[in-house]
């Protein structure tokens, strides 16, 4: 089954609409498909967050039009507590799995990894196509939860049993939760196929002269991420299978005995361990954070070098740091469980590796900022979003200092501080990476330049808006504002409502300005001015071919690589840079090791 002659069908350009655009084996089409799916998911997720924010500050007000979405979830447009939690669950699941994992990793990775290493396609095009369509099915299975029984599950994207394992635990826990578990299991399979492809392609299909150290930083990021993903999703899949079995087959992996839900004794389960799910889930869950953030970091480094017009202070150190982060991410999952009844000693065992992750992250940031010193910064939408990423990464990172320590986590755990932390570092930062990638590679992917003015306006509004939304979350957390509440009825939460109002206004504004981006994307796709092969004077191989690249990426002429990826800030015939595949002899900038 794993055989090169799976490419037999691949030996000629595909004919017919279906083969060309739908069930295409071409990694570029598949990359775009992932990107499109992510775009759809992020729009849905954003609307859900709007609804949640509106409900939080006006819990008893009718939200116009909502009653058409769900008559039981929002009778007369007034959102019920369970519907809030159901929307929250869907928001989290869509964003983490179908946006943060799909776009920076699967989307851009599929499109550019083979091109950047001079390959003509992924190693297993069939698996590649399968991985997308599997993910696609998973997506719609998840969305289907909106329309079954009493709606989507309400157990959050972490789906802790027994809440997520017992149908009687609440609305949405019957069919909706089962669909959720199935969808995630399917998603895992898709990601495993994708990771398999990425790793094999990177190892085997590099063109002549493309040593591992000559790969661009984003290629490295995708490679490391796929290694993380291969292990992480291989653990989430079993967890989902066990959960599904507990739900439909009556096994007791996670469900203990003697539970009483609304006066009914749950008789058919005994002895299960809810902590087992938490361990399995977070063993996946923490690496997942880096599956979301590392590709963004790689993309951003790739873009920053280009707009700095100079190599980073060190190419290798960045790679080693990303490796270190990926490696450490497997030793820290317990820091999500400081207060869930683990032994207090193991809490410390998880706390220190978590703190150690700060070091490679800091080095990354220092390299990004330090290389900016004395550079000639080219200001464009892409570079602005990349710099915005650095700022967000720092902000989200420092709040990690707090949560990494059990003694502080015991106060901040389960508050908006956590929500602010992971939205900053995992949500906004990764999304900035996507925006940067879109403005930078859009011309290559669609063959049209995007509008820079609109891009810069979009950046400024999004940047300010994101800070206005997520900075206050930390303050709320300091006061002990509990997360996942559908309304704030506690005496000490009432005075915080003004802050929540401010956040809601900011969220509505920030969400609205994304229309600028959508307009820019769609308008330039059709009406933008044609893009040259190398609009940004880039050096890596994706700029060595036309925009968009031909079906086999290099028109049959496999490029040969002569240089390190980022030869900027030099005197060469082409200007202040020389491309990886140009045989021109140049005096390279010395690079520290």
């Amino acid at each position: 089954m794993h055989d090169v002659s799976t490419h037999a069908a691949h030996h000629a350009p595909p004919q017919g609409f279906l083969r060309k655009y739908v069930f295409s084996l071409d990694h570029k089409v598949i990359g775009k498909q992932y990107y499109g799916l992510g775009l759809l998911a992020v729009l849905i997720g954003m609307v859900l967050s709007w609804l949640m924010r509106l409900h939080l500050v006006w819990p008893n007000a009718a939200i116009p039009g909502l009653k058409w979405l769900s008559s039981t979830g929002a009778p007369g447009g007034i959102m019920t507590p369970e519907y809030y939690l159901q929307l929250m669950t869907m928001h989290g699941t869509l964003m983490v799995f179908f946006v943060l994992t799909n776009v920076p990793f699967a989307g851009f990775g599929n499109y550019f990894l083979p091109i950047q290493i001079g390959a003509e396609d992924m190693a297993f095009p069939r698996f590649n196509m399968m991985s997308f369509w599997v993910t696609f099915v998973g997506f719609w299975v998840l969305i289907a939860a909106f329309f079954v029984g009493d709606g989507p599950p309400l157990s959050g994207w972490t789906a802790y049993p027994p809440l997520s394992a017992l149908a009687s635990a609440g609305p949405g826990e019957a069919v909706g939760q089962t669909l959720w578990a199935i969808s995630i299991a399917i998603f895992c399979i898709g990601q495993l196929l994708g990771s398999l492809n990425f790793i094999t392609t990177t190892l085997d299909l590099r063109t002549k002269g493309m040593t591992l150290m000559r790969m661009p930083l984003c290629t490295w990021a995708w490679f490391i991420t796929s290694c993380i993903g291969l292990l992480a999703f291989a653990v989430l899949l079993p967890a989902c299978i066990l959960l599904i079995l507990d739900r439909v087959a009556g096994t007791s992996f996670f469900v203990p005995g003697n539970l009483v839900i609304s006066d009914q004794l749950i008789a058919n389960h005994s002895g299960g361990s809810p902590l087992l799910w938490q361990h399995l889930f977070w063993f996946f869950g923490h690496p997942e954070v880096y599956i979301a953030i590392l590709p963004a970091a790689g993309i951003v480094s790739h873009i920053l070098v280009n707009s700095y017009r100079r190599p980073l202070l060190s190419h290798k150190v960045v790679i080693y740091c990303m490796m270190a982060i990926g490696f450490l991410s497997y030793m820290v999952w317990g820091h999500h469980m400081f207060v869930s009844g683990m032994s207090p000693y193991s809490a410390l065992a998880f706390s220190f590796p978590t703190l150690v992750i700060t070091i490679p992250s800091t080095i990354l940031v220092l390299i990004w900022i330090g290389s900016l010193y004395g550079a000639r910064l080219q200001v464009n939408s892409a570079s602005l979003f990349a710099l915005g990423f650095v700022s967000m990464f720092v902000t989200g990172g420092v709040s990690g200092f707090f949560l990494a320590q059990p003694s502080i986590d015991v106060y901040l755990h389960g508050t908006y501080f956590v929500v602010g932390h992971f939205h900053m570092v995992m949500g906004v930062a990764a999304i900035f990476g996507m925006f940067a990638g879109t403005y930078f590679w859009g011309p290559k992917m669609f063959g049209r330049m995007m509008n820079e003015t609109l891009g810069k306006i979009h950046f400024w509004c999004t940047f300010v808006g994101a800070y206005c939304i997520f900075m206050p979350f930390h303050y709320l957390g300091m006061v002990g504002n509990v997360r996942r509440y559908s309304a704030f009825v506690d005496d000490y939460l009432q005075p915080l409502l003004p802050v929540h109002k401010f956040i809601t206004y900011a969220a509505l504004f920030t969400g609205a300005v994304q229309i600028i981006f959508l307009y820019n994307l769609i308008y330039s796709r059709f009406k933008g001015k044609p893009a040259p092969a190398n609009p940004w004077d880039g050096t890596s191989l994706e700029w060595a071919t036309s925009s968009p690249p031909p079906w086999d990426n290099f028109g049959g002429k496999t490029p040969v690589v002569y240089h390190d990826p980022y030869q900027y800030g030099i005197e060469a015939s082409s200007g202040d840079y020389v491309m990886q595949n140009s045989p021109e002899q140049i005096q390279t900038v010395r690079e520290d090791k």
Partner: protein, 205 residues
């Protein structure tokens, strides 16, 4: 480091094929198989840790003696590995002049039959347990027993599909050695995995 104009000597993607076709590396299948096996290993490792945690967490664990036929199946699976090994050496012989692909084919068919026999044997084992009234949800021990055996059987069935694919290619005598190698790597791994699972279940159940 100053770059040299001589690209370091690393393997070229196979240069065969006319322009405007996609060329892919020769070592792709084996790398792919190894990566895939890594994922499978991780999955079963996760299940194993789940089993250990679950076993330790609650006193409701009931031991039961599992069907004797499992040992028979084990022998069958090991035998199939040997036949597949024979197939590989015979196929290599074809390369070295021996014209007839018959011996290799026979060995492959043998593997296929033994593999099928293994799956049927597993099925028989499940039937025996059911007659004993031991079902998936009877007890965590039985849950894990069915879980492990069924998942492994599914993987073996995947291997059988791979084998049929290989056989069909050999019939059309377009079989690449690396394909056979990759498939046999997978198949041997399934054997090793089964031995591991058998030991695990033997200890825990």
């Amino acid at each position: 480091m100053a770059t040299t104009l001589q690209p370091p000597s690393i393997k070229l993607p196979s240069a065969r094929g006319v322009p405007r076709t996609k060329k892919l590396g020769p070592e792709v299948p084996s790398t792919g198989i190894w990566v895939g096996l890594a994922a499978i290993t991780m999955t079963f490792a996760a299940f194993t840790s789940a089993m250990i945690v679950r076993h330790g967490s609650a006193p409701d664990w009931q031991h039961f003696s599992f069907p004797i036929i499992l040992y028979f199946n084990t022998v069958v699976l090991i035998a199939s590995s040997f036949t597949l090994h024979m197939a590989r050496s015979r196929f290599a012989a074809i390369g070295n002049g021996a014209a007839d692909s018959g011996p290799a084919l026979r060995a492959l068919y043998g593997t296929l039959v033994l593999g099928g026999l293994f799956v049927c044997g597993q099925y028989a084992a499940w039937l025996q347990l059911r007659t004993k009234g031991i079902y998936l949800a009877t007890n965590p021990s039985s849950s894990f027993f069915y879980l492990f055996t069924v998942l492994h059987a599914l993987h073996v069935i995947g291997g059988l599909l791979g084998l049929t694919y290989v056989i069909s290619k050999l019939h059309r005598s377009v079989l690449a050695k690396r394909t056979l190698d990759a498939t046999s790597q997978y198949w041997h791994f399934m054997g090793v995995l089964w031995l591991y699972l058998l030991g695990l279940l033997w200890i825990r159940i």
